[in-house]
């Protein structure tokens, strides 16, 4: 193309700007839904080391359902315990262990918090996307202009492309690695793209992409956010922490345990990691006060070590290998909305930043994208009403808000020196652990969470929360399986029929009648190329029950493949393992059962009795096309 020609124009369902954790999770969904998608990133290559250092339970559950958790789990360090250390009353310049704390009550999730560097996590996600063969990250590419055509958007046609983005391939040497987030380190960016590049770009190496939907996953300095005029609210503080990943040489006995250390000289937080690394967060507060971040380049690993040495007394600590280091300034900022006209969305650091104290940055960013991805998928494939996209800001803004409140409390705890809480850490931690793990996130009623649900039918299946996974018995195979292993991220809604006691003729009759109704519902919303629903049945009896007695909707037939034997489960786990039965875990009546529906992200959207099919039908009527 010469400079005189018009740039090439292409059309996509979805354009994703930024291939960090948020962008990659969104691309995973896009790949599952087969949406025509492009994902660009200004950087030459992935983050190699450093940055976020851990994955919480809910994130691992999500990645497991994408088939990507195993690699992470086998490479990561698993955090079971946190030890708190405080000044020794005998010599207050020495520390001593005051408490061992369970990091996370084990009933919360089958996965524990895991320490692994962000680069490794991104690598695993990107490999997964590549292995599916539909989407690949286009690097060295930036958006230089964005135009939104209101008139086009107002057409009630699913094939409109109201978003015009000009893309430019950049020379890898043109920009250095951008330093975004609340954290700045020894990786300062020299040029920053944005409005300047937008006006200054030549026509060379340019193309125009017209998109139905655009998502900015472009980090804390989001160019997309600027373009649509959304501004972050909140402040930075003058509290600074030095962060480094080192292989420690030390006689500190808890160096391979995550520690919360409050010393007379300031506080340190340690997080053991893969490959003998330990992440240290070292309080630099007083030194840099009033200094903003200008001095952060002078904060070498050796200088951070100098502070740490004092705090670890009477133990010695040193290192020869430092994998990464940085300085962060505590601050909390939040955008007032995460979308622009339900066509352009923002996820991750582009709309919320906070300190790494709770280890949430990467996790919450991925969870944003996870919430958004399937909604876009259902709308773009023509299955759901575009109105469901409204729930994205609604659901995720509340999470970001709550996170920022917690982050303020936690950073105060770290910067204020030894306290009652640092001495008796367990009860303090317990207030946070559900939120930190991510499993307690509850979305409030909306078109996607049916307010008419009957929570009392399933005490431990919380409306709006993700379904916890317990082991069930595959009726036909006689194998113990985690229910969530049956719920991969394939974009379908799940109708879980807790069938109760099938030995009771009246109950059996109800379940069969529900089968007839479900078959008609499934028929109504069937698309040519993908399922909208999957039905699973879990009965309260033993697996002596012959599943072929059930209505075929519960074990669908295929002319070449025969019956589907992987949809009916029994409660009879005691036969296999000394564990609670799923009916007991979920708090469902073994006699009457109930019906539960799950969104494609496993959040519970409806709970009702066996014979209220009408409610279920009305619920889906409102959201499906």
């Amino acid at each position: 193309m010469t400079a005189n020609e018009n740039p090439v124009t292409s059309f996509v369902d979805l354009l994703i700007v930024g291939a960090g954790p948020a962008g990659l999770v969104l691309a995973l969904w896009a790949s599952k839904f087969g949406m025509k998608t492009r994902i660009i990133d200004e950087k030459d290559s992935r983050v190699a080391t450093g940055r976020a250092d851990g994955l919480h339970s809910r994130t691992l559950e999500i990645l497991h359902n994408f088939g990507a958790a195993q690699d992470i789990i086998s490479r990561a360090y698993h955090i079971n315990e946190i030890c708190s250390w405080n000044p020794d009353p005998g010599n207050e310049y020495h520390i001593r262990r005051t408490q061992r704390t369970v990091a996370q009550p084990c009933h919360l999730s089958r996965f524990t918090q895991s320490g692994l560097n962000q680069g490794a996590t991104e690598e695993i996600l990107e490999n997964k996307i590549r292995s599916e063969g539909r989407i690949s990250v286009e690097r060295n590419t930036i958006p230089t202009a964005l135009r939104f055509d209101d008139k086009e958007a107002s057409h009630h046609d699913k094939d409109v492309y109201p978003i015009f983005v000009t893309l430019r391939r950049i020379d890898p040497d043109e920009t250095s690695v951008t330093c975004d987030g609340e954290v700045v380190g020894n990786e300062h960016s020299t040029t920053k793209n944005g409005a300047n590049i937008s006006t200054g770009a030549t026509k060379d190496n340019q193309e125009i992409v017209r998109a139905k939907y655009l998502v900015g996953c472009d980090g804390a300095h989001s160019w997309i956010r600027h373009q649509v005029g959304i501004h972050m609210e909140g402040e930075k503080t003058d509290t600074h922490f030095g962060v480094m990943d080192v292989v420690p040489l030390t006689d500190f006995p808890d160096i391979r345990i995550s520690c919360v250390i409050h010393s007379k000289h300031g506080s340190v937080m340690t997080v053991p990691r893969e490959n003998r690394l330990v992440r240290l967060y070292v309080q630099l507060g007083e030194t840099l006060r009033g200094n903003d971040l200008a001095g952060s380049k002078d904060v070498t690993p050796e200088r951070i070590l100098g502070y740490a040495k004092k705090m670890f007394q009477p133990y010695h600590i040193d290192f020869k290998i430092c994998d990464w280091h940085s300085v962060y300034t505590v601050g909390q900022r939040l955008a007032p909305t995460f979308d622009f006209k339900n066509r352009i969305f923002l996820a991750g650091d582009s709309v919320h930043t906070h300190s790494p104290t709770l280890g949430q940055g990467m996790n919450v960013s991925m969870q944003d994208a996870y919430n958004l991805g399937w909604k876009l998928g259902m709308v773009i494939t023509g299955v759901a009403q575009p109105s469901i996209l409204r729930t994205y800001t609604q659901e995720r803004w509340n999470v970001a808000k709550a996170l920022i409140e917690l982050d303020k409390r936690m950073t105060k705890f770290y910067s204020m020196g030894p306290s009652k809480e640092s001495q008796d850490y367990q009860p303090f931690r317990d207030q946070f652990s559900q939120f930190i793990s991510g499993v307690a996130i509850t979305y409030t009623p909306s078109e996607l969470i049916d307010i008419a649900s009957q929570q009392d039918l399933a005490d431990n299946i919380k409306l709006g929360q993700r379904l916890p996974s317990y082991k069930v018995v595959c009726n036909a195979e006689g194998n113990l399986v985690h229910l969530s292993d049956m719920l991969p991220n394939n974009g379908t809604w799940r109708i879980l029929v807790f069938a109760g006691d099938l030995e009771s003729p009246s109950q059996f009759e109800k379940v069969q009648q529900l089968g007839v109704n479900l078959e008609s519902l499934l028929g109504r919303y069937k698309t040519a190329d993908r399922a909208v629903f999957e039905v699973f049945l879990i009965h309260a009896g033993t697996r002596e029950f012959n599943i072929l007695r059930l209505h075929p909707v519960y074990h669908p037939w295929n002319d070449a493949l025969g019956w589907d034997y992987w949809k009916v489960f029994s409660n009879d786990v005691e036969d296999f393992e000394p564990c609670q039965s799923p009916y007991d875990e979920y708090g469902v009546s073994k006699k009457h059962g109930c019906v539960v529906t799950l969104r494609p992200d496993q959040h519970v959207s409806y709970i009702g009795p066996m014979d209220s099919f009408g409610d279920l039908e009305r619920f889906f009527c409102r959201i499906l096309v």
Copy 2:
């Protein structure tokens, strides 16, 4: 190279002929030891479907220690239960379930028997080898001449290459897939290499490889075995089974359970598998009797189905998809020795064949290679005396012999019709399950299994058997880990110090003294590039114990990496899980402990008290250089 030149000559430590399951496992070891190795196979590509259909516990343990089990486990079907079906007394031409049988007592291994086709298993092994970057399979290559130079071999020098093998690259079209084993199917070979090719080969595409050691893993018609004049002993019978992998269309309720069906019309054995497949072994006995295998080409899947249909009555069975089928004739054959002058070895089907009734063919073949590989590795790297190679035939011949005895009993059971055993299958099965799982294989005393061991110090650590794996607590990390996860196949011997009660000063003193002795032992046998030993310590107390109090041999120091925190374990598992403690599982005294050594294949070679270092030293003196 023109036909007139002499062929190129290259030198290798190890030449492996045949890249089936046995050859691939041997190549894995060779890769770990960094031996200069070539592996050739006449075939163009791997087995795609069919053949062996399952992996038993011990094989999975072995592959786990090579880091290759996870992929298999996630793709495979897991066999927990076996149902037996027999004629219904009400209508003897109908079958009915008579018993549900646990496939394998769960204390035997952490891994259960898994159904996956041989091609997938070979693929996973070959990928693993490739990923290590040292060895790759050379396909379309056969040996055409073999010469052994006795005089060269007699030099007491480790750098002699007494084996001369001429290799030839063949045109992929030249030979079709060879059909070996006791099983012949619809894949008859047309040309068979061997003596003919050996004389008929031209000099084109030829080269000479001089090897220190040669292993024939070239299957039931082993060319290597013929060359060294070892002949199989034993007979084929006239009992035939039709074997097929189909996706069944059926109302038989146990189709996703492994079944042993004895009907009036003959017997069927079913093994559910990956991807909705089920393997059926259908008795063809009477039909083909006296017919040898000539008629086996006529045995189409449809014909096998015809017999099966009768046997499954009153249930219906059919299929549209057949992945693979074959016919096998029961027979058992064994070579009188597995080596030639301790320089040329044979493994797998090349020295023993039998029926697939026990699903052992592939498993025992891999286990042969597993036994041989580390011995060759230690000898070739100059660490161990060549005399240890003698133990290969000794140890593995006994296993093959026992297998053949069991196979005879099992094939009789399948071919003789309904019986007391088929009605009450559990006690019959129980006699076999330890052997089938592979975990009970016990090697008898030799230079590698110290007869002077004190078995009473560790009731459940059986001299000569592989160490069972239980969970222990990593003292420094406070994580529950399976002991075997700490014992990857890296070629080292392991000295496990069950340290007992370290709170007792006299016991602590003994453990420290042992530490001093171990350090000197390790120093004596140190090589420049690889460890010969690893030391692990498991104490009977809680992890409040500070491991840095121990002699450094128990937590070795490295100037850049610091202390090694992954060698000391505590017994304190109750803190984490309701399970037995390792001291209880292993039957070791919590007070006095004991010392156990493991060979690189995890077989227990020595058990002694804390203060008998002299015995341990003498043991290693005999085998190490």
